[in-house]
Every structure is written in structure tokens, then in C-alpha cells.
């Protein structure tokens, strides 16, 4: 009984956090974002508000196999000690858990880019949030239509 109450409260808190997150994100980025995704983003960036732009997601518009979808993130940045990208966080809005990856960058890279392959359970938006060395945040999203889901169902 006690446990059920605690869980219920946690669920409510998470949902509330999600709603708050939703309202604080810039309009286009927050469009139709799941509460779980907004909460996952909030967990990383706190109450700060990201701007649109500078971070770019490259994904195929249609993925026949959601088990392995190529993803490239790039950020416009000189990648110097004074001005570089610290991290890029990637989320899949409608996966069972929205977290996909965090890339941590350094000026030693010379260019802000990372490539990997991801799983997408269904057609959805992939969202990237970049954290710059001056504390600024940028967000962007890209839709992928998935023919066969990739969460091992």
C-alpha cells in the first residue's frame, strides 16, 4: 500500500516535470514531445532553455530497419579552447526509454561531429541538445519514418 502510494507520487512528479519541460522548451522543439522525453532533457539541462539551431542531426528520412539507423550529429563551432562544444545529448522521442547517447567533445577533435547507429522502435522524432563551452544550449530535431521497429519486439 505504502509502495503503491510512493510510486504513484513519483509518477505524478515525473509527469509534472515533463509538463514543465514541455512549456520551457522553444515552441518548434517542444512540438508534440512526449513527457518522458521532456523529463529526460530536463534531467540533463535543468531549467535552462535551449535555442534552435547550430546543432544538426543527419538521419535517413525513411529507415526500413529500425534496428540500425545511421546517425550523425554536427555542431557549428571553431572547437578552440575558448569556444567549443562540450557535449551533445541525443533522445528518441517515442522509444521505450528516450535516452540514446551523450557525446562528450573536446577541442582536440578539431571539428564537432559524431557518428553512430541507433535503434528506433517506431516512426518518431530524434532530438539533439548541444551544450557549448560558454554554457549556451542548442536544440534540433529530425523525423525518421520507421518501417520495421527496432526494439526487439
Amino acid at each position: 500500500m505504502m509502495q503503491a502510494t510512493t510510486l504513484g507520487r513519483r509518477g505524478a512528479l515525473a509527469a509534472a516535470a515533463g509538463l514543465v519541460g514541455l512549456s520551457l522548451l522553444p515552441k518548434p522543439a517542444a512540438a508534440q514531445m512526449e513527457p518522458a522525453t521532456a523529463a529526460a532533457i530536463r534531467k540533463i539541462i535543468g531549467e535552462r532553455t535551449p535555442e534552435e539551431g547550430r546543432v544538426q542531426l543527419r538521419l535517413p528520412p525513411i529507415a526500413e530497419n529500425g534496428n540500425t539507423v545511421p546517425l550523425t550529429v554536427t555542431v557549428e563551432s571553431p572547437m578552440t579552447a575558448a569556444d567549443h562544444v562540450k557535449a551533445v545529448h541525443v533522445f528518441a522521442d517515442k522509444n521505450p526509454t528516450p535516452d540514446v547517447a551523450t557525446f562528450r567533445f573536446s577541442p582536440a577533435m578539431g571539428r564537432a561531429q559524431a557518428d553512430t547507429r541507433i535503434r528506433l522502435g517506431q516512426t518518431q522524432d530524434v532530438i539533439a541538445v548541444a551544450e557549448m563551452s560558454d554554457g549556451k544550449l542548442y536544440i534540433s530535431r529530425a523525423e525518421v519514418k520507421v518501417t520495421i521497429g527496432g526494439c526487439g519486439g
Binding site: N67, T68, V69, M79, A92, N95, P96, T97, D99, V100, A101, T102, F103, R104, F105, S106, A108, M109, G110, R111, Q113, A114, D115, T116, R117, I118, R119, L120, G150, C151, G152, G153
Partner: protein
């Protein structure tokens, strides 16, 4: 109990000039079990993934990645690196159980 971590493979360009930004491409074989799937008895197959990757050059951090179950099996990770001087890149993959695979890759500069 953790699934075996395969031998990692790393590719650099054949010729590297000083100051050039190269792409480092890595691949490691691993099942990346999500923890969402069930076996034939209906029990959840426990999560077992490579959860982190780090790359340093002569002890200095270059790039790292936190991986979640949404990363495909046999994780492919590629990133740029500005080759200012010759030296060694050290790469480490770590699974949920804390087991690691390490690989040292020499960076040699063309004359």
C-alpha cells in the same frame, strides 16, 4: 554472465598530415541487450550493454560517449581528431558489469 565483448576494430586514414582533422572509426562486437526483450518463458532478458566509450590521446581526453540501449548491436562510433603530432590514442569500451576492452592505436604522421 555478461555477454562477451568482441575484439574492437579501429580505422584511421592511411596517410595523416600534421594538423589534419582525421576521422577515427571504431567498431566492437556486442549484443547490446536492451532489457526490454522477453525470452520464450516470458521472462525479461536482463539489460547488458556497452555503456561507455572513451578516447584519449597521450593521456588527454579527446572524445567520449555514454551509450544507452537505443544504440544498435555491435556499436559503431566515429569521431574527428586533429592530428597535431605523433602519439598514441587509447580507447576503452566498458560494459554494464564494468568489464573493459582497451585498444592502443598509434598515430603516425606522413613526412
Amino acid at each position: 554472465m555478461a555477454a562477451p565483448i568482441g575484439q574492437p576494430r579501429v580505422r584511421l586514414p592511411a596517410q595523416i598530415k600534421a594538423g589534419e582533422v582525421i576521422e577515427i572509426r571504431t567498431l566492437i562486437s556486442h549484443i547490446m541487450e536492451t532489457g526490454q526483450r522477453r525470452n520464450q518463458e516470458g521472462q525479461i532478458i536482463p539489460r547488458d550493454i556497452i555503456k561507455s566509450f572513451t578516447c584519449t590521446f597521450e593521456g588527454q581526453p579527446v572524445f567520449s560517449m555514454d551509450l544507452h540501449p537505443a544504440i544498435s548491436a555491435n556499436p559503431y562510433i566515429a569521431f574527428p581528431f586533429k592530428a597535431e603530432r605523433a602519439g598514441n590514442l587509447e580507447m576503452v569500451w566498458t560494459n554494464d558489469a564494468g568489464e573493459q576492452r582497451k585498444l592502443t592505436q598509434a598515430v603516425r604522421l606522413a613526412e
